[in-house]
């Protein structure tokens, strides 16, 4: 894996390896292998998986819908913010869309960094922020044949962390 900048420095930003919304099956192991060069002492992979129950109801399927074009931009933006805030060296993030059955992987967030703390911080930041502003929705389908769109967060205009940008009349 190629790196940018000093080979033996503490900060070797490799950047955003992948930031995508996809209908393909996800595999955290793939990013675990791809991320990290020889100056990275820590790699963390988070997999979000579809659970077979929620709030006491049996879940048979989760359907994810996304504003695909915007979602990829938002994932890219969140990843860059996480790198800038924490000094982590590389991030890969993938969110699956379509119909998923338990225990399919719906989300993979992978981070590499020189040390463990920036790796944890970047990983948590990406997940918290994507829950806040990734234009993506899920409908749970239950064993009794009913289904429900799950409530979530209202994204804030201009809420782009360190990189707040306004537009229009302001």
């Amino acid at each position: 894996m190629s790196s940018v900048g000093e080979r033996h420095g503490e900060a070797t930003p490799v950047g955003v390896v992948v930031a995508e919304v996809t209908e393909s099956e996800l595999d955290g192991a793939e990013l675990l292998r791809r991320l990290g060069d020889s100056s990275d002492g820590a790699v963390i992979v988070f997999e979000g998986r579809v659970r077979d129950h929620n709030g006491g109801r049996v879940v048979v399927r989760l359907h994810y819908d996304a504003y695909a074009g915007m979602a990829a931009d938002v994932l890219q933006e969140i990843s860059r913010e996480a790198l800038a805030r924490t000094g982590a060296s590389a991030i890969g993030v993938q969110h699956r869309i379509g119909s998923l059955e338990p225990p399919s992987v719906s989300l993979v967030v992978a981070v590499s960094a020189a040390h463990r703390r920036p790796a944890y911080e970047a990983s948590a930041y990406v997940i918290e922020e994507l829950k806040r502003r990734l234009p993506l929705w899920k409908r749970e389908e239950y064993a009794d044949g009913t289904s429900e769109w799950l409530g979530g967060h209202t994204p804030e205009a201009g809420a782009r962390g360190d990189a707040m940008v306004m537009r229009g009349t302001e």
């Binding site: 989300l107 409908r139 979530g152 967060h153 209202t154 804030e156 229009g168 302001e170």
Partner: protein, 84 residues
């Protein structure tokens, strides 16, 4: 610029389901803002009751009520998001 222009508002999640379409077409006055767009959506017979907690994206960015919408802008209503 004067007069009215068409805006194709993209729908997602529950909105798409209740409207039965992935887009609604509205007409905005020249110089119209996100707030004006929200006003038109509130008057929509089906969507009107389902705008609580929604954001508006213009050209793939979340925009404040004061932002102006221009001809050709890509506009979408974003219901509360729930990724992960």
């Amino acid at each position: 610029m004067s007069g009215r222009f068409p805006v194709h508002v993209q729908l997602f999640g529950k909105h798409r389901e209740i409207v039965g379409s992935s887009v609604v077409e509205l007409e905005l006055e020249a110089g119209g803002t996100v707030a004006d767009l929200r006003g038109l959506l509130a008057a929509h017979p089906v969507l009107g009751g389902w705008l609580g907690g929604c954001a508006i994206a213009v050209n793939r960015r979340y925009e404040r009520d004061e932002s102006v919408v221009a001809v050709g802008d890509e506009v979408a209503i974003i219901p509360p998001v729930a990724g992960g």
